[in-house]
């Protein structure tokens, strides 16, 4: 094991120190939402204790202080993902809202009947349904890039699918079911060679890999705070300034206007044009603390430790014999989807839960992918940097219990 102070880090996460069903809680549902360190929790309560007020429009002291903190966080996000300008950072509710914003506003501006939007078959529903609905409305078409059995994207198929009708490629950086890290830089370069913009869903990658907008050169990038140790209800849309300037506002109301007349409105400049209404200021305070926390640990250190956890868990599960891992791409983040013999994932989940371990069972909001594999669902254990090898040993023990109870199952 690399020297990573996991036990000290765990002290920062109060929620981890409790028992469920009389056993120590093991939290392996980090791909759904991560836990929050005390630094984030304190930032939120601190906001309400000393800074709470509405931002941007008050001349009073509190409003100025909160506005400064809010805008400083925008700059912090800009630096964290190496965007060219803080005008390119839009605060949203989360990845889902970020994608909906682009689907709606980009769709209005650029999509016509007969056009195509390229997605992959491994997308989360939140990177399928907004495109599908927009395309239905516009008479356009959504197409899905297939994958290979190991869960890697079929790049040959992708190259063949790009054509003059393609108006946008929207693809996840990391699959929430398979853990596959997609070659997004290569995808972006290929799409750009046809002048096609690319949206990257970074919900599953940001907390593991970080992100570099200028290096990736993507046109849109979306992520959620709550999957990167920040609160729920805050997220980010990164968009290249030229696109954010060109597309119309998504929602309208206060904050996003320059001047309102009874018969028309002029819109505010970036980034405010896309932030209608009172924003989630407490969420932004929490996001600031979460990014500080991640930077304190170092993204490289996080990546190395999580890789070791993934390798340890993969080795242990493979050694059990009847575990089928769904998603064996060469490049993965720290999550494992699996099936235990012919036992239904729901049954497995019921028992693993009783052992105090939080895993996810089901289709993980990626029904087309589960359908592609022709399986009913999977059990998914997703790891964060506060997880330990001992916790993985507990999972192995829980799986043995599942096999003992349902082992004869042919259902």
């Amino acid at each position: 094991m690399v020297s990573f102070p996991v036990n000290k880090i765990r002290e920062d996460f109060p929620i981890l120190h409790q028992k469920v069903y009389g056993r120590p809680l093991v939290y392996f549902d980090n791909a759904a939402s991560t836990q929050k360190p005390v630094q984030v929790i304190r930032a939120i309560s601190g906001y309400y204790e000393t800074d709470n007020c509405n931002i941007h429009r008050g001349v009073h002291f509190l409003s100025q202080r909160a506005t400064e903190a809010y805008e400083e966080t925008r700059k912090m996000v800009q630096r964290f993902i190496n965007a060219a300008s803080s005008n390119e950072i839009i605060f949203t509710k989360g990845t889902t809202e970020s994608i909906n914003l682009v689907a709606s506003s980009f769709g209005k501006q650029y999509i016509s009947p007969g056009d195509e939007v390229l997605l992959s078959i491994m997308e989360h529903h939140s990177n399928i349904v907004p495109w599908q609905q927009m395309c239905i409305e516009k008479g356009a078409k959504v197409k899905f890039i297939p994958i290979r059995e190991n869960g890697e994207l079929d790049m040959d198929a992708f190259r063949k699918m790009v054509n003059e009708r393609t108006k946008l490629v929207a693809i996840t950086h990391v699959s929430n079911v398979l853990g596959t890290i997609n070659p997004v830089k290569e995808i972006i370069a290929i799409a750009h060679s046809y002048n096609i913009p690319v949206l990257i869903d970074g919900a599953q990658s940001i907390s593991h890999l970080g992100a570099d907008m200028q290096d990736l050169d993507c046109d849109f990038y979306c992520f959620s705070g709550h999957k990167m140790y920040a609160p729920m209800g805050i997220g980010v849309l990164y968009g290249k300034e030229k696109f954010l300037e060109a597309i119309p506002p998504y929602q309208s109301g206060g904050e996003m206007i320059k001047e309102v007349f009874t018969d028309h409105t002029t819109f505010n400049e970036l980034p405010f044009k896309f932030e209608a209404g009172t924003p989630n200021v407490e969420g932004v305070y929490g996001l600031h603390a979460a990014i500080s926390y991640l930077q304190g640990l170092g993204m490289e250190n996080i990546r190395n430790y999580e890789n070791e956890i993934l390798n340890y868990a993969t080795g242990k599960l493979n050694a059990m014999g009847d575990i089928r891992i769904i998603g064996t791409a060469k490049e993965k983040t720290s999550l494992i989807s699996f099936l235990i013999g012919s036992i239904h994932p729901y049954d497995a989940g019921v028992i693993i839960d009783k052992m105090g371990i939080a895993v996810r069972t089901g289709h993980h909001c990626a029904m087309p992918l589960i359908e592609w594999y022709k399986i009913p669902a999977t059990v998914r254990a997703s790891f964060a940097f506060y997880n330990t090898v001992e916790e993985i040993d507990s999972l192995v023990e829980a799986i043995q219990k599942v096999r003992k109870i349902f082992g004869r199952s042919t259902i």
Binding site: I343, H344, Y346, D347, V350, K354, S409, I411
Partner: protein
């Protein structure tokens, strides 16, 4: 046996197991021994909505009594529906409609009772009672043996 007596019998069977895992093992045994559901009934028409795992439920009405058969893709859910069938199958519509199904709470699988658990226990009981109501209504207007 009455519906209440069958429930008491199930509660006493489960009380033999002290460990929760043995209760689940027993539930798996019960699931395994449920008579097979005719494949023709494994269609959308017979699916009980509101369950996380698929459950198909079919009923027959013979000589004033209702007979249920079912299947599920998961062992846990199939075990639970098997218990419900054991309690309710072979009884009259009135008996089923008036049945108080409190036994699951007493067998040590309490978490399966929570309405927020989407295993569909509530939906399954509701569906069985709906069948009972439909047969009752039908027989009152002169219907005899049939399925719905």
């Amino acid at each position: 046996m009455t519906i209440t007596e069958i429930q008491e019998q199930i509660v006493s069977e489960f009380s033999l197991f002290e460990e929760w895992e043995d209760k689940y093992s027993y539930l798996d045994d019960i699931a395994r021994s449920l008579p097979k559901l005719d494949e023709n009934y494994k269609t959308e028409q017979y699916v009980i909505t509101g369950c996380q795992s698929k459950v198909w439920l079919h009923s027959d009405y013979k000589d004033g009594r209702i007979f249920f058969t079912a299947d599920s893709e998961t062992s846990t859910t199939k075990g639970i529906v098997s218990l419900l069938i054991r309690v309710l199958s072979g009884h009259t519509p009135d008996e089923i409609l008036n049945a108080d199904m409190g036994f699951i709470e007493k067998i040590g699988l309490r978490e399966h009772l929570s309405p927020f658990r989407s295993n569909g226990l509530t939906s399954m009981i509701k569906q069985m009672k709906l069948y009972a109501l439909a047969y009752k209504t039908k027989s009152e207007v002169g219907g005899q043996n049939s399925d719905i």
